[in-house]
């Protein structure tokens, strides 16, 4: 079945008899893209599943108030982005240690072939991305991997386009430097 437009989904959702059906379609339509975004931030599959579920539950609770003039995908992305940041905040509070330990925990997944299928260079890239601060990492992932426009990213993050451009530019420079250092070091991991 081809994807329905936002307006069609919302119209179905607003009818009591097709509410669950419409939401089921919405989940099927957006789950993969949102999963990828969350997974790149959280890395662990089980935690990603929890965050993705929370994202859709919040969407279910708030969809009645959703303004039809906004883009559904941007709105869902915004919820997912906030849920990711909340999850990382909780993770840091729970671990109660230096941010390096959080990065270590996030990158553990990359060492397991059960969870990560990329080659050495992909692993290096992901490790470099993990070293970025949380918000900058989200900006990099949205732009580099998901190809969002700055205007969309601005809606999602609530940050100005100018600030997002600077943030992405700095993130690219950092990652380039880390990847380059790694390549000159050979198979070693970034310090």
């Amino acid at each position: 079945m081809s994807d329905l437009s936002d307006a069609e989904l919302l119209a179905l959702f607003r009818k009591e008899e097709s509410r669950h059906y419409a939401f089921n379609l919405l989940v099927r339509q957006y789950q993969k893209r949102l999963y990828s975004f969350i997974r790149r931030t959280i890395t662990d599959h089980d935690e990603t599943q929890d965050v993705l579920q929370n994202t859709f539950i919040k969407a279910w609770n708030g969809l009645d108030k959703f303004r039809a003039d906004a883009q559904l995908y941007s709105w869902l992305y915004r919820i997912a982005h906030n849920e990711c940041l909340n999850h990382l905040r909780k993770m840091k509070r729970g671990i109660f240690v230096h941010s390096d330990t959080v990065i270590e925990r996030l990158t553990t997944t990359l060492d397991s072939s059960e969870h990560f299928s990329g080659d050495m260079i992909q692993k290096k890239l992901q490790r470099a991305v993990m070293r970025l601060p949380d918000k900058q990492r989200a900006v990099f992932n949205m732009k580099y991997f998901d190809g969002l426009k700055y205007e969309q990213m601005s809606t999602v993050t609530g940050t100005s386009v100018g600030a997002l451009k600077s943030s992405y530019h700095i993130a690219v420079k950092k990652i380039e430097a880390w990847v380059t250092t790694d390549q000159t070091k050979g198979p070693q991991e970034p310090s």
Binding site: Q31, Y35, H45, H115, F116, I121, F145, H169, K173, V179
Partner: protein
């Protein structure tokens, strides 16, 4: 995809640009088929949970909470009211204090004399008392009975 913007930014990052874009994270088989059902299940569970909670509230809990709140308000009023009234009276009395220039010049005897004159205002006041009222007055004022008998 906003590749044009990406290319602009990546022009100065040749090593990053050389890495093929891929999604290297492994997703368990059948996850995306199962996931929509998990979400629906959670929605139903959440609804049942909130329904249970409201049922508990509508049963015995809601009147109990109401009664407790009412008790708390009454107890609070009980504790605070006399204190508040006393404070107000004290403040009022302090504000009605006799000015120094008056208290220095007035003598209790002068006041007594003035009051005992044939003041038309006082004449309108009925000062007669029944025996019972008089007995109560004497008891309240703790007047010496022998002096009273002499007066009579």
């Amino acid at each position: 995809m906003d590749t044009l913007d990406n290319n602009d930014e990546l022009r100065s990052a040749p090593n990053l640009r050389a890495i093929p874009k891929a999604d290297p994270f492994v997703v368990p088989d059948g996850f995306f088929e199962r996931f929509p059902h998990l979400v629906q299940q959670r929605i139903v569970e959440d609804r049942a949970r909130s329904a249970n909670w409201s049922w508990n509230l509508s049963g015995w809990l809601r009147p109990a909470i109401g009664a407790l709140a009412l008790l708390a308000v009454v107890a609070l009023a009980w504790v605070l009211w006399p204190k508040a009234e006393g404070d107000v009276l004290d403040q009022q009395l302090a504000s009605y204090g006799t000015p120094d220039h008056v208290s220095d010049e007035l003598d209790a005897e002068d006041v007594y004399t003035a009051l005992s004159t044939n003041d038309p205002l006082l004449a309108e006041v009925d000062l007669t008392m029944t025996d019972a009222e008089l007995a109560e007055y004497v008891e309240q004022e703790e007047l010496p009975l022998d002096l009273l008998i002499e007066e009579l």
